[in-house]
Point group: C2
Chain length 387, copies 2
Amino acid sequence: MTARDTEAEADARARACLTAVTPPGDLWLGAMLAEHGAARVWAELVAGAAPPHVTGEEEPGPDARARLRRRWDRWSAGAARVDPDALLADSAEAGVRFVAPGDPEWPGRLEQLDLPGGRRSHGLWVRGRGDLRNLCLRSVAVVGARAATSYGEHVASEMAYGLAERAVVVVSGGAYGIDGAAHRAANAVGSTVVVLACGLDVDYPRGHAGLFAAVARTGVLVSERPVGVAPRAPDFLIRNRLIAALTPGTVVVEAGRRSGALNTASHAAELNRVLMAVPGPVTSAMSVGCHLLLRDWQAGCVTCADDVVAQVAPLDERSPSSGPLRVRADLDRDSARVLEAVSSVGRGPAVIADSSGLPLDAAMRILGLLAAAGLVERCATGWRRPR
Amino acid sequence: MTARDTEAEADARARACLTAVTPPGDLWLGAMLAEHGAARVWAELVAGAAPPHVTGEEEPGPDARARLRRRWDRWSAGAARVDPDALLADSAEAGVRFVAPGDPEWPGRLEQLDLPGGRRSHGLWVRGRGDLRNLCLRSVAVVGARAATSYGEHVASEMAYGLAERAVVVVSGGAYGIDGAAHRAANAVGSTVVVLACGLDVDYPRGHAGLFAAVARTGVLVSERPVGVAPRAPDFLIRNRLIAALTPGTVVVEAGRRSGALNTASHAAELNRVLMAVPGPVTSAMSVGCHLLLRDWQAGCVTCADDVVAQVAPLDERSPSSGPLRVRADLDRDSARVLEAVSSVGRGPAVIADSSGLPLDAAMRILGLLAAAGLVERCATGWRRPR
């Protein structure tokens, strides 16, 4: 293990501990981590030291300074009670791993939250056999009201099923109503990503425990909260930015005038994601939110999985409905080299490994991931680019 | 009666006769009328002469020339059988008057059909107590499928009722389904305009005879076909351009994938009118056309009368929902002068007449029309501009 590995491990461990005492997306903490590193911030918190100075910000007035200090002291008091080994052991026990920025499983798309003003994620708890980064490469968020109508649940199911059939991963919030219908249908064909506002062993809502267990078999559950933490109201709103950020596009299936799904929609718009809405009867209160998005030209109108794929796929890749969804930019260097080595006529894995300069086993693992993302496909002579 | 009046009367009479033997919107006839005047063209047809030459066009090849000649000869044979006095007497008997371009009742908005390539209207038959020009000033077309669902008819009724309450005249095609529901609801509160593809005494569809009679009491029925003419399939398509042209905006309430309402919609788009669509269940075949218009960003999403008024009203007049709908450009010179003389504080009619340079009775008549169009309103001290 190199010094750099050790440093990354210490950083991840500190970030995991921080999730136990700090709120997700805290802007001040984000700036502090960027400047001083998680290991140092955590150490200062545990030691009960003063908060490290964040440069480049305006000097806060005395009131603001006092508020920040109270926040820091609250975190510090919490940090004193965190046992890092126990936290990681409890998580592992519950089948939950921690993924920090920089980790191979960290979704590249979250980097957009690091832009100024963005409520960056300090780390993600992940449960399930899927690979979060790979699942998100070719994904769409399907969200909507908990108090969905049977129409809404029907449309969410059909759309999620169709997306899964086209190898698009459905990301949603695991709630009753639209979210549950979307996860359930997607999970029946492919994989799905559940983004929760509570610890991944909490199974909230309780009635979805079975669904979450089924999702974990091929997909993943994600949360910024550590195991054992019950959801609180504000967590749902900050969780929604994660749903929007993980995917290139968000579909609102049903939403009342003040639905939380509209909060996800506004995050998607802020992050320059493709925002889509499903129309419904104008007589239905649960379609009012969707129609507002359409009326004000904020969302594109989608009625089926094909519409969604057409809107999310970049212009130059529109024609094949199974084509990749804005994924190239997210590829790490090795994957990009392997993809480069695949041509439109089939080539064997040994040839591909050779021309990409990677060992055969690494190339084969990457080919599998690229295939899951729809970027390459198997053929009689090996692997090729899809038409 | 001046020479000019006589000339206009002869032109109108010739145009009325032409509607009996030529198809609405014929481009060649339009060019001929613009160059030679209706009276001369009609005289040549009756005399069995050769077609008058249309300048500015490429000389047609021998095939095209032969086709045009056959068309002309067909018209000429028809013209020989037309008795102008009987035509006008039969029309008057059926309560139908003829309105020619230049007539005070001619809707200003139709001038857009006179642009190059536009299938201009050669004249309109009108039945009913309303004034076609005034009714169209502040109007919206509400169209949709004949095979409408009960959802579609419900929405069409609600929307038309709401538009009529806001003093917006509903224009539609008088068919079963969406058209009928819209006319019926609008007529219950205000006035409506029925645009037919057949003679105005024909009552097609037969089941709407009662509705048409009710419409004629305050609104109007319009057609480019003279009395006694039964509708033929191509007439409906050419009629649709008239619906789109008469109004500043068209709402499609329900439309299947190949609905005639989409034909009206494409006319509206070509004429730069505001095109709107009502969403519906994505599971409904009768909403597919609407969703295609929304998906392809061709139409704005509207769910109620307020949405429609907001989309049709020009940007600078959006706030008052009873405000005028793009009418200023349609005003004749006298009306514009009267409007000019009205200020935001109330002024008496004598003052307004004086400052507009018109006789009092003319000014008062025009003030009534401007009020009907929502451009002026009564107040304690006379008339003023609405807030």
